[in-house]
Symmetry: none
Subunit: 200 residues, 4 copies
DNA sequence: TATGAATGAGCCTTCATTCAT
DNA sequence: CATGAATGAAGGCTCATTCAT
């Protein structure tokens, strides 16, 4: 009755699997029509669930958005932390970071498009603090690598802050145009961006 | 029965002035809260007009969005065409283009944020063809300069298409973080991006 | 397919005990939040049962309300009938009736508050006829004692009907303010009301 | 657009008149079916307004309830204050107070029934403080008169607090059974209650 | 001309209840 | 027996827009 996730392992697993499906479907619809412009009726149609069933998995439309953002940021951070904190040469860490990042962006285009669309909400409303913190942590990981590269002399930036912002801009924008079977793979794009930043 | 703009010159001028004010105010509110999440009531409050008065100037909420996009793209194209089509060295034309572009972005941050937020609508709906065409024309102007630079040997790109997309990403993203009295001026940012693209 | 109460004595007894607990808990929650404003989910939380378990004991939300009303009226009538029908002096019977009544009200405040709150339903809907009959029987018991007191000259009323209605009003209202460890006991309140009605 | 009451006098007056009609109609429907059990659709049907039109006048369902409570309490207090604060003999002030009170109850039965039904909300929720204060002020006016009667020896109570509570109970309960063309007028009922309280 | 009352479809969400497991 | 996922109608409310005044 109350929409608590189940506690028994078998049910719990099925619940999580279905919840992931719902999140992915919702991310796709939101990316196409916009979060605000998508009605819960649109989502019941897209998921095949009924209104009540949908709420069983998501809690609310806003929690659904939160789930999408978390599915985007949490695994990315999980992968990025060990790479950024590794002890190889900074340029190699940056390249590895970019490849991982762009693979993630390519696999979660919809999530990132939704995230970008609702950025004004995420950056302003108190209840989105956790997501803001994830975003900032990721940017800090990037900046740490750039800073270490600069310190060791392996990289040189006219303005490191501007380089970081440019990088964020180009990668986030990639979600707008990337196509899975397109001319460029995620890794090729990553290397392209990396070269833009470091060459010279 | 949509109100028609007045035809007598004096009235016409006042009408246009006020309309611009309304567009700018609306762009600000949309940038903050989102286009869909902003109600016409929010706009009457922000503009100080009444519902009827607001409609006198804008026609509809969608036409208001259209007006914002046009205020963003039309003057930019106006300025960009002669620069891109000039006959100086391609690098100098690119630099000039970027400076003009970033000055425009800096002066129309709200417009660009709204444009980016509603991009999924603009790219998909038939009634937005005119705006899509503006966007594509601007990108073509940029690409022309890059292509000529490549042809003359003045520029070299591992992948010119990727360079263009990266450039679009970083410039558009600038609207998210640029502050008028910040550390970097629009021109400095433009030069920074230009160097990223061309150096080496 | 409503669950049937068990028929084997031992199970039956446990079932009844739990059912009484559920009724009392529900009465408390209803008294606090209102019958309509309380969801079945609120009740599963308050009782610690699951949705299915709750329905095992109550049948439906309306039958639960019926049970609360019956737990209020049936034992009261059971006690009141012999007192009202006794053969002592009417004043003494009235006093005894009031003491019993107020003890019952004090012990079932929640039940009475719910009863009063949903009175408009109970008085109007066909399925509540049995409860209406209980209420009317109790009022008739009271009126009989007053009538006999008037006939024997032991009591005198400017308007007996008004006196009865006033009595009903004050006693029912008692559920709103009575506190178990308050300054006045149920018996003291009963005597106070009795004196108001009879003195002079 | 925004549901602000109009400011121009002529419109303001019409608005207020209609608003009163809506409140009275809503009070009647709430008294019959219960506040919670009445849907806004029920109210649009009863008022003849559309959903939006209804909200133009009431703000929200809860503000509608607030308006009903205020229409009940504010004029009653307005009338009661000068009577309670007068300088005649306390018994006469009490009688006048009761007559005024019962005339008001008779004219606002629906309002009082709704007030009583939702009492648990009014007494518990922070946003109902203003109404609670009105209720308490009225009870204090009554108690002041009783206290002065007791002090001057004009009245004698076994327990003044209990007498006050009994009075509140009987008067409030009157809304349950009073009929405009019934056997007893509001004044006769008032005098009957007054005699119950003071005689002997 | 400018106003603001009115529209009514559509929004997100909750609910009492059922039934396969 | 007990569970909790699922139902889907109905809930209160908002919205962009119009038009009589």
């Amino acid at each position: 009755m109350a929409s608590q996730p189940p506690t028994r392992p078998a049910l719990r697993e099925r619940y999580e699997r279905r919840r992931q499906e719902v999140l992915a479907t919702a991310a796709r619809v939101f990316a196409e029509r916009g979060y605000q412009a998508t009605s819960m009726a649109d989502l019941t149609e897209a998921t095949g669930l009924t209104a009540g069933g949908l709420y069983h998995y998501i809690g609310s439309k806003e929690q659904l958005l939160f789930g999408i953002c978390d599915d985007l940021m949490a695994p990315l951070l999980e992968q990025a932390r060990p790479i950024a904190g590794g002890d190889g040469p900074p340029q190699e860490r940056l390249r590895a970071l970019l490849r991982t990042w762009l693979r993630h962006v390519a696999a979660h285009r919809d999530h990132l498009l939704v995230f970008a669309q609702e950025r004004h909400v995420i950056e302003r409303e108190p209840q989105w603090r956790a997501v803001r913190r994830q975003r900032r942590e990721f940017e800090a990981l990037l900046d740490d690598v750039l800073a270490e590269g600069e310190r060791t002399g392996a990289m040189r930036f006219a303005d490191r802050r501007l380089a970081l912002l440019a990088l964020l801009g180009m990668v986030n924008h990639t979600a707008q145009w990337f196509r899975p079977r397109g001319r460029l793979s995620a890794e090729q794009i990553a290397d392209g961006y990396c070269d833009l930043l470091l060459r010279g």
